[in-house]
């Protein structure tokens, strides 16, 4: 700990400085420095299904779903400035859409999953639209309530099998398809979002988050871009929901469970908001953890909420930001 006459000073690592811009191509070492983390992630995720045993492969599938939800939460919160506390809404709409398409129209999963993603996204966006013009906290509260309301409405109107749900839906062909679909989806979404952030549209969304009045004064309709952002996030979430329905072969009210809203948020906070990779890592850690602790019953919820609380209070930057900082910079104490 720094004492009275010392302070912490952060410096970029020399290899970090050497690999900015074009200079990165100057030697293999620099290129490795830049590429290694990304390759590690990609290769790691692709190889994971091959080394896990059957039980954990299943866990990987659900972890992937949570990773996608965490990505959608991080995207909306940090890149657009909208805090959506109701990820379960996307899972529910996407899941129900896929299941219903499968059950009543007999369409195979290859068709229902993409179709349900789009239909679910449209529906979710429509429902969320009325609160987009308001301050952030209204949005947060409303999105929190929406999955619970959807659940109540389904029960109240006895729709879609109500509390029993619908069983006997098509499942995905085999465990390998199941895993690789979700792993590739996570990777594609991750890199697509990164790319999106540097496109003009992504730029405008980030500008809205930074300084919405200036964006308005520049002639851009904030509302439209927010609707677009919600649609994109919903697309991801509904895809994950549709996948989930076909993973288990049934749909039910548990698709609107609060777990789908909370765990991604916990994963994002712990993984590091804004990094996109962090939430994925967070989900890949929390989800198996949650599984492993299943034997403890309600205690696991208590434990991971405690963990979440500790992170929010004491290390809000999250794991990924911390690791990134350590990777790119080092600290030393310096006399003042």
């Amino acid at each position: 700990m720094p004492s009275q006459d010392q302070r912490k000073k952060r410096l970029d690592r020399s290899i970090n400085v050497r690999s900015t811009g074009l200079y990165a191509l100057s030697s293999w070492r620099e290129m490795t420095y830049l590429l290694a983390p990304r390759l590690l992630l990609i290769v790691g995720l692709l190889v994971l299904p091959l080394v896990l045993d059957h039980y954990w492969q299943r866990v990987l599938c659900t972890a992937g779903v949570f990773a996608i939800l965490a990505l959608s939460f991080d995207f909306l919160a940090e890149y657009v400035g909208l805090v959506c506390l109701g990820g379960a809404l996307f899972i529910g709409f996407g899941g129900y859409a896929a299941g219903l398409l499968n059950e009543y129209l007999g369409l195979p999963p290859v068709v229902t999953i993409p179709l349900a993603a789009v239909i679910g996204a449209c529906l979710s966006t429509l429902v969320i639209m009325p609160c987009l013009r308001l301050r952030g906290i209204y949005f947060a509260i409303i999105t929190f309530m929406l999955p619970l309301f959807a659940r109540n409405v389904i029960i109240a109107l006895s729709l879609f099998g109500s509390t029993e749900g619908i069983t006997g839906l098509d499942t995905l062909p085999n465990i390998w398809v199941e895993q690789y679909v979700i792993v590739i989806a996570v990777l594609v979404i991750l890199f697509a979002l990164r790319r999106f952030a540097s496109e003009d549209v992504g730029l405008i969304m980030m500008a809205v988050k930074d300084n919405d009045r200036a964006v308005l004064a520049s002639g851009i309709s904030i509302f439209r871009y927010r609707v677009l952002a919600v649609f994109i996030a919903a697309l991801m979430g509904c895809f994950a929901g549709a996948y989930l329905t076909h993973l288990y072969g049934w749909l039910g009210l548990s698709l609107f469970a609060m777990d789908f809203s909370i765990l991604p948020i916990a994963a994002t906070v712990m993984g590091g908001m804004g990094t996109l990779v962090g939430p994925v890592i967070g989900a890949l850690i929390l989800s198996p953890l949650s599984e492993a602790l299943r034997g403890l019953g309600q205690l696991r919820v208590v434990l991971y909420c405690l963990l979440l609380l500790l992170f929010i209070l004491y290390k809000p930057e999250g794991l990924m930001n911390f690791l990134e900082r350590k990777y790119h910079q080092f600290e030393r104490l310096e006399k003042v």
């Binding site: 964006v215 308005l216 004064a217 520049s218 309709s221 904030i222």
Partner: protein, 252 residues
């Protein structure tokens, strides 16, 4: 109404809670004019700007732009019609390079329509605009992170943001504030250039001497009301204007 009256504001009022920020203010502006808006602090100048540009909806009155009433329209719609503004407190999109700040206005419907999508690479257009405004391309200023620019450059960035929209009217909210004399001297030719290119300016200012070098006419406000309107030298001779700035004559 003369043939080239661009902006005709009539009887505009706005109340915030218990405070009458603007009371029954009106003025006309012709194309190519530069109008200053002056008055002591709290006179309602910025509120007037907000009213004209749509950030605040007026309780009363009409704002006719080319004959069409724009009072109460959404700010982005008004910007798309050609009325833009700078902000007194600037927060450029923080971690982005300077020229990226202009991508936002370049994507507006107004620019899209005007160039029919043939603008090409937006990045180079942004850098061209910055160069026009005076950012030295060679010194790589446009590539610097916006938050790290000195104040003079940030003010110019605000103007660049406005210019990118190819506007007809620019409302400058205290563009001279915080700048040194030499910075102001180099900004004035820029403003004059805008006028020559056909734009109309409304400038809310405290620095009267510098303002009077560019302004054709001046609107004086106090406590939300317009107390004078006319050419600068005449207006400054009026008693009520002097009283507003300096205070009443105590001998009376």
């Amino acid at each position: 109404m003369a043939a080239d009256t661009l902006l005709d504001v009539r009887g505009v009022s706005k109340k915030f809670g218990g405070v009458q920020a603007v009371r029954d203010v009106g003025f006309t502006l012709n194309q190519g004019q530069v109008m200053g808006v002056i008055g002591p602090n709290g006179a309602g100048k910025t509120t007037l700007v907000n009213l004209v540009t749509g950030f605040v909806k007026p309780d009363d009155g009409r704002i006719l732009y080319k004959g069409k009433n724009i009072a109460g329209m959404a700010p982005n719609k008004i910007a798309n019609l050609g009325i833009v503004r700078t902000f007194q407190v600037m927060r450029p999109y923080h971690s982005l390079p300077t020229y990226k700040n202009l991508i936002v206005p370049l994507n507006s419907p107004r620019v899209r329509k005007a160039t029919a999508g043939k603008l090409g690479d937006l990045d180079s257009v942004a850098i061209d605009i910055l160069e026009e405004i005076g950012f030295e391309r060679d010194a790589r200023v446009p590539y610097k992170i916006a938050g790290s620019l000195p104040l003079g450059y940030q003010k110019r960035l605000e103007l660049a943001r406005c210019i990118a929209l190819r506007p007809e009217i620019i409302l400058c909210d205290e563009v001279f504030s915080g700048l040194s004399m030499s910075e102001i001297s180099s900004m004035i030719p820029l403003l004059e250039k805008f006028v020559i290119e056909g734009m109309t300016l409304i400038m809310v200012e405290h620095r009267l001497r510098e303002l009077f070098r560019v302004a054709d006419k001046v609107l004086v406000m106090n406590f939300g009301e317009k107390i004078a309107e006319g050419p600068p030298q005449e207006v400054m001779k009026q008693d009520n204007v002097k009283a507003a700035y300096i205070g009443g004559d105590r001998s009376k």
